[in-house]
Amino acid sequence: MLKKHIKMKKILTVLPVIGIMFLSCTLERNPYDQIDKESLFENEGAIEAATIGNYASLKGDNGLDGWTDQLHRLTEYPGDNISLSGSTSDPLNFIYNYRAITTNSRVATFWSLSYQTVVGCNVVIEKAEEGVSAQLDQLIGENYYLRAMVYFQMGNVFGRPYNQGVSNLSIPLKLTSEVDDVPDRHTVGEVYDQVISDLLKAESLMTENKSATFATKEAAQALLSRVYLYMEDNENAEVYANKVLASGRYSLLDTEAFKKMNYLNPQASSEAIFSITLNKEADLPGQWDNWYTVGSLYASIEGNGWGEMYASRSYIELLNKNEDDARKSFIAAQYTEDVPSDRKPWVIWVDNSYVYQTRLTSEVAGITSFVESGVTYQINDEVVNGKMKHYFVKGGVKQYVDKDFEMSKRNGFPKWFILKASLQEDEVHLWSPAVSRLAEMYLNKAEAFAKRGMDQQALDELNVIRVRAGIPGYILADIPVGKTVLDVVLEERRLEFAFEGQRKFDVFRNGKIMNRRYPGGHLWGASPIYEIPASHNRVVEFIPEKQILLQPSLIQND
């Protein structure tokens, strides 16, 4: 009996030991991919880290699907510089063809990232103290700037142009970081007031001469110039443009450098005022990342990219007005032969159904012609208004054509690749979208002058841009019949800022009609839309349906 007792004791003592062996444990575990908010703001570098986080929201994680990506689709695709060679399952299709849906995921992402950035700025503005140091003030100013920029663009996308009424609904302005603060839609006027107030505050706080990768005082001034222009406060548009020009920090790239502007990192461009910068090493690291950028839809480079959206016919015709227009360098026609001497000549025109027609031509004894259904059509030349034009006659009717060389097509659309959003530092589709660059200051001034009837001053500003683009400047006498100086200024703005996300707003804020009478997937399908007047409902996007379901007091656009 005693022996048994001792044995039991031994075992009973061993058991807890076994148990304790595994009891090294508490139940506390912390994440490795996130930082607890309180711990973050105990750090000295917290304000800078949070500010970087705001820039990163705009750029997108690893340079993909960020705010700037969605903004570009929302602002460039409704314009008339681009043409989609068909249709796509990507929701950008509905932004492009004005057949907007309330469930567009790109619009929803844009809305969501906008507020994520704005609230991130609000946190910094709430937590940081002004007047402590120039460095800290600079950071606070940058946050005011970013907030203003985001609200300005959101207002442009979801709210009607300023001159259509300041009491029209725009976007909700959230100015705190409180989760319970869920405001309803403010008016267009209120949004503009807030944007201007934030930009003026930013202008006063920022004193450091940072590179174009970060916001600076001049960036705030440049954006203010545009904001005032959109409001038709032409005096202030001119004043702020002049402030930027007078700072002496920037100069226009010369013609040859300008032709390769897309290759430059913003920090290497004398003209860039503020661009949301993608970094060659850190961004687009994944093997397939190049396929999901803005540039990938415009061009296929080194096998990377969809190359489905091309320069529109109307834009090409505009470029062709001057043979040496430097902006042609951003378009790459995809000829079937690489070597120019091997290329096959053809003629190209757009028929009455807005479909491209092309015919390969042959030249015999100086006469160019093509054969169709057994009939030979000769290409004739004539001079109209000092320009050489070509045409052939069919059924007694003159059909004007352009002479060019055979190009690859997709769904019948010749491929005019757009390179402006690609090739930064020779990386396929790396691109740092410009928010403000110096050329805009000249064009803002030109428009501000033109609208006040100061035609000659307008042309002076305009011609700076034209000369830089390698084409002759205008004199008053040259303005074509039926066009005003303002028309000419807007046309130049279109040429200069194509593919930079300004065209849609430039057309509608000036009360013009968006003319989509050119070949493209927007004319496919039932009920195509050929023209969009400035009063059209779809000049503004729908607020994402899910957000209205979550916040029922939000009123949807018509």
């Binding site: 075992i11 058991l15 076994i18 595994f22 444990c25 508490t26 139940l27 506390e28 575990r29 912390n30 994440p31 991919d33 996130q34 930082i35 607890d36 908010k37 973050l40 880290a49 949070a50 970087i52 986080g53 705001n54 820039y55 994680d61 690893n62 068909g86 249709s87 849906i101 469930t103 929803a108 969501s112 507020y115 609230v119 991130g120 946190v123 909700p172 970081s177 989760v179 869920v182 405001p183 990768t213 970094n279 850190a282 994944g286 093997q287 080194e302 096998g303 997709r410 769904n411 019948g412 396929v428 496919w524 399908g525 039932a526 009920s527 994402p544 957000q547 379901l549 979550l550 916040q551």
Partner: protein
């Protein structure tokens, strides 16, 4: 002195008695199959004397001439044989047909089937291993009432999801817990199906309550094989077969069909010429193949009084029916029960599996979307580079064959589990049981992109290596108590359990290398690095007691307290409990029936919990991964935390009747209702707050249902046996409460609505085709009057409740026939009701929106509008699309019902006499077919690949399979 005399007298008396009447009797005890039964007990009735049979089933006993021998063995009917002067008596024992005497594996122990008061379904190995797959989940399909198995696809090595009694959480985990030999698994374990002795499916809260916060969705317990006492057996089994691609009702067009379709659309493109009819490439045919599947398992079992050993090794290989995916798995398992002495038994176990996958699979998307007018190779047999071809019509300009010339990926996974278990018998009544497990999971992935391929062009080739490691520890220390006092029987188990988990992963990509290099060192440029880690831990205490009186009345109660790392400090621990009672009515004196053999009533009630999938939901955080600007690291608002977050709680009532009739039919009818509250719900915040939302305990869900199981021995003669099994489960899921007292919360194309199934679809309701102009129509409901009109404007159509993704009922039936050694087994599985959203139809059935994608051939009963007045199911096909007809709406919601012949096996069990001469104890030859035949209206490829929630895209269908197999043992 007096003692001594009494002893002598007794001995003399005994001896005298024996000398006068005793004789020595010998013989052999056999089982019903004629095999000798070692360790059977041969006792003398009325005495406590007895012997055990030896390895050959032989015994020798001294008994009086008119004594009676009582022969018994566990699981067999005890037989009494009169000696009647004989000196050689052979006895054959028959298995105990009373199923209620079986022993069943339950939570943290075993229990006699007749004593079970909760809902436990058991499947034995023979019923499991009919289909040929590498995982055990697939084998449950159609075999257990209330268990739905949803395939992830037919690619080799893919594992389906198992759902028990419907979904019990809105956004938390809905999948059951898996336990293998007493060890709780992280996720679904890899177990060689041939190693499985039985699977217990614990369905109701009182059965799973002992698993506390992890038991809310049911538990599947796998018990691996042990040897039978005295029998030493070497078993070899092999299956060799062929998989065939089965695209069901789905078919894409060939050249002629597509040409005619484009004619309908009035295609005016310059590439649309009659010449196209000369081009007809079958992409689906070119990408699929008859694929080989092979399985070999060898196992050895041996058991003595001291040691019980089971060792097995297996090899499984399967090629994909879509070319380019290969899968191989090696498994090993060793279970040893070593009886050191009467008190201590050591039970070490080791198992590992090694998976080797190769992937250069043909792109599923391209197989169906590429046009028959585009072919992957040109006339000379060179692979075409689609983007550079002027002739390529398909819209994606993508020929996946090009990159497949060089690019591929591999993955190798090694999983090892080691158990150091032991039992220590402290006294007759108390036993200490300890389960201690370490599991190491290690996975390595590799992907190769050649510089010559399109994917590798920009980077000059790319190599990616990744590795992931999971380390899990579990220890359960239990004290068991069991005592019988007269007719009272009481048992209990108390325990402490600790479980933790750590996961770490690493990945790196290098760019720029010379074709053929496979290690990162050969790359010129480091492209990216990735690293991640997370962990969790749980700690628990539990106590369970069982009581039975006279094997007639049963009661059970249990309680468990769980703590987990992924809850805030305020709510780290919670308690779960259960009660159950059972009554063997057939044992009552008042119960007399010739028809009903056993009748048992049982009822139970219990609570279980569910942890959220998110590991750190209670903290306010900033995200720091991938946040950088111009190379400078930053942080961004990420999660809005909730420090009060607590467990989801489920309370379940289960009532059932088990009965046996006519000694032939066994049936169980079960009713349950499970109420889940404090649902872990991710409350969406408006984006304006900068947060997506936060975790909250809010809302309630109810799952109510019936289950019915019937098993019938239709024939049971010596030569012919025929057994039929049937099971059906009906589950109704209903949301009872939502966040903030709301009646509905929409979420994309689904909605949570009080009173409705949680998987309810919420989308625009398709109203057919306008017969006048062939345009699409949807319903528009006036919010004030409730009046329904039709509209052709997609944006104006109203979002409505249009059905749900959950089946109305599921089940299966099987038939097992045996005639003189020939056997024929079939197993059917069926699902009825529920709607799947076939999202791939927006690409393949787009009415012209994607004219340069191939389209699906119109299924039976479908028609396309062509002229005014036509009544058709499909709108007019217009080049460029017809008014958003292919956008999300109930048009693509389809009935997911199906009846499928899961398996049919025909074979022959070689006769024992023949085999004994060869020294083989068992041999079986068979041919078997899986998934041969399906009845369904679903227009996609496979209604089984529908996801638990009912949403599917371009899927990898389950293949048809033809297999030949041999099993034999020595």
């Amino acid at each position: 002195m007096r003692k001594l005399v009494t002893c002598l007298l007794i001995i003399m008396f005994g001896v005298f008695h024996a000398q006068a009447q005793d004789k020595t009797v010998t013989g052999t005890v056999f089982d019903e199959g004629g095999s000798p039964l070692p360790n059977a007990t041969v006792a003398i009735k009325g005495t406590s004397k007895g012997v055990s049979t030896n390895f050959n089933g032989q015994y020798k006993i001294v008994v009086s001439q008119n004594g009676i021998l009582v022969v018994s063995f566990v699981g067999y009917n005890t037989k009494e044989v009169a000696v009647a002067g004989k000196s050689s008596i052979n006895i054959t024992l028959l298995p105990d047909a009373n199923i209620l005497d079986e022993v069943v594996v339950v939570a943290y122990g075993v229990q006699k089937k007749e004593a079970i008061t909760s809902s436990v379904a058991v499947i034995k190995a023979e019923k499991l291993a009919d289909i040929t797959v590498s995982n055990v989940s697939s084998m449950l399909q159609g075999k257990v009432a209330g268990v739905q198995v949803s395939s992830a696809g037919g690619s080799p090595g893919s594992t389906p999801s198992v759902l028990i009694r419907g979904m019990a959480s809105l956004s938390g985990n809905v999948l059951p817990l898996w336990v293998v030999d007493g060890v709780i698994q992280h996720g679904v374990p890899i177990v060689n199906p041939n190693d499985v002795a039985s699977m217990s499916i614990l369905k109701d809260a009182s059965a799973t309550s002992l698993y506390g916060s992890r038991g809310a969705n049911g538990v599947v317990i796998i018990t691996t094989k042990r040897a039978k006492i005295g029998v030493s057996k070497l078993t070899f089994s092999t299956k060799v077969g062929v998989n065939e691609f089965n695209s069901g009702n789905f078919e894409v067009m060939n050249s002629q069909q597509l040409y005619d379709y484009h004619a309908q659309m009035n295609n005016v493109q310059d590439w649309y010429v009659p010449n196209l009819l000369n081009r007809d490439y079958d992409w689906m045919g070119g990408a699929t193949q008859a694929a080989a599947v092979r399985e070999y398992t060898i196992s050895y079992t041996a058991a003595t009084n001291k040691m019980n050993t089971y060792i097995s090794g297996g090899y499984f290989s399967e090629e994909g029916t879509i070319k380019g995916s290969d899968f191989e798995r090696y498994t090993f398992r060793m279970n040893v029960d070593y009886k050191v002495n009467d008190r201590l038994t050591l039970k070490p176990k080791v198992s590992f599996s090694f998976d080797d996958r190769f992937n250069a699979a043909h792109g599923r998307y391209g197989i169906y979307t590429n046009l028959p007018w585009d072919a992957p190779t040109d006339a000379d047999g060179n692979v075409i580079r689609a983007q550079e071809s002027d002739d390529w019509i398909g819209r994606d300009q993508s020929n996946y064959f090009y990159d497949l010339q060089w690019n591929y990926g591999t993955s190798k996974t090694f999983n090892m589990s080691f158990n150091g278990d032991f039992d220590f018998k402290i006294t007759d009544d108390f036993t200490f049981a300890s389960t201690n497990n370490f599991t190491l999971y290690n996975s390595n992935g590799f992907s190769y992109t050649d510089p010559l391929s399109i994917g590798g062009e920009a980077t000059n080739g790319s190599i990616h290596n990744s590795s992931a490691r999971r380390f899990t520890r579990l220890t359960t220390q239990m004290l068991r108590f069991a005592k019988d006092i007269d007719e009272h029987s009481i048992s209990a188990v108390a325990g402490y359990e600790y479980n933790d988990y750590e996961y770490e992963s690493l990945g790196a990509t290098g760019n720029g290398f010379i074709s053929g290099g496979v290690i990162l060192d050969v790359t010129a440029e480091p492209a990216s690095v990735a690293g991640f880690k997370n962990e969790y831990a749980l700690e628990s205490y539990f106590l369970s007691t069982d009581y039975s009186y006279n094997n007639k009345y049963f009661g059970k109660a249990s309680i468990r307290r769980d703590g987990a790392s992924n809850f805030g400090v305020n709510n780290k621990f919670a308690t779960f409990f259960s009660f159950g009672a059972g009554w063997n009515i057939h044992k009552e004196d008042f119960f007399e029936s010739d028809v009903v053999n056993t009748l048992k009533l049982r009822a139970s009630y219990g609570s279980v919990g569910n942890r959220p999938g998110s590991l750190y939901p209670y903290q306010d955080t900033y995200k720091v991964t991938d946040i950088h600007y111009d190379g400078v690291p930053g942080a961004r608002l990420s999660q809005f935390g909730n420090p009060d977050l607590t467990w989801e709680k489920s309370f379940e009532t289960n009532i059932a009747i088990d009965a046996r009739f006519f000694e032939r039919f066994t049936a169980t009818l079960e009713y349950y209702t499970k109420n889940t509250s404090d649902l872990l719900y991710f409350v969406n915040l408006p984006d304006i707050t900068a947060y997506n939302g936060y975790w909250e305990n809010v809302g309630g869900l109810k799952n109510t249902g019936f289950e019915f199981v019937l098993s019938a021995d239709v024939f049971r003669s010596a030569d012919f046996k025929w057994n039929l099994d049937f099971n059906i489960g009906v589950n109704k899921n209903e949301i009872t409460e939502l966040f903030d007292d709301r009646t509905e919360i929409p979420r994309g194309s689904k909605i949570f609505k009080v009173g409705e199934d949680m998987n309810s679809w919420y989308m625009r309701k398709w109203a057919g085709v306008n017969s006048e102009d062939g345009t699409p129509q949807w319903e528009k409901v006036d919010t004030t009057t409730g009046e329904t009109t039709l509209t052709g404007n997609y944006n104006e159509a109203t979002l409505q409740l249009v059905g749900n993704g959950t089946p109305d009922f599921i089940g299966g039936f099987s038939s097992n026939m045996n005639y003189k050694g020939f056997f024929l087994n079939t197993n059917f599985s069926f699902v009825s009701g529920g709607e799947i959203y076939n999202s791939s139809r927006s690409l393949y059935d787009s009415d012209g929106l994607y004219p340069t994608f191939n389209q699906q051939v119109l299924s039976n009963g479908w028609s396309r509008w062509e002229n005014a007045g036509d009544i058709a199911t499909h709108p007019q096909a217009i080049y460029g699309g017809n008014n958003n007809s292919n956008k999300t709406s109930s048009r693509y919601l389809e009935d997911r019902s199906y009846l499928r012949l899961k398996n049919i096996t025909f074979g022959y069990d070689l006769s024992k006499n023949l085999l004994n001469r060869l020294g083989i104890s068992e041999a079986k030859l068979y041919v078997s077919g899986d998934n041969l035949f399906t009845i369904t209206d679903y227009s996609g490829m496979d209604p089984e690949v529908g996801g638990l929630g009912g949403s599917t895209s371009t899927s990898y269908p389950t293949p048809k399979r033809f297999v030949v197999g041999i099993n034999f043992s020595f």
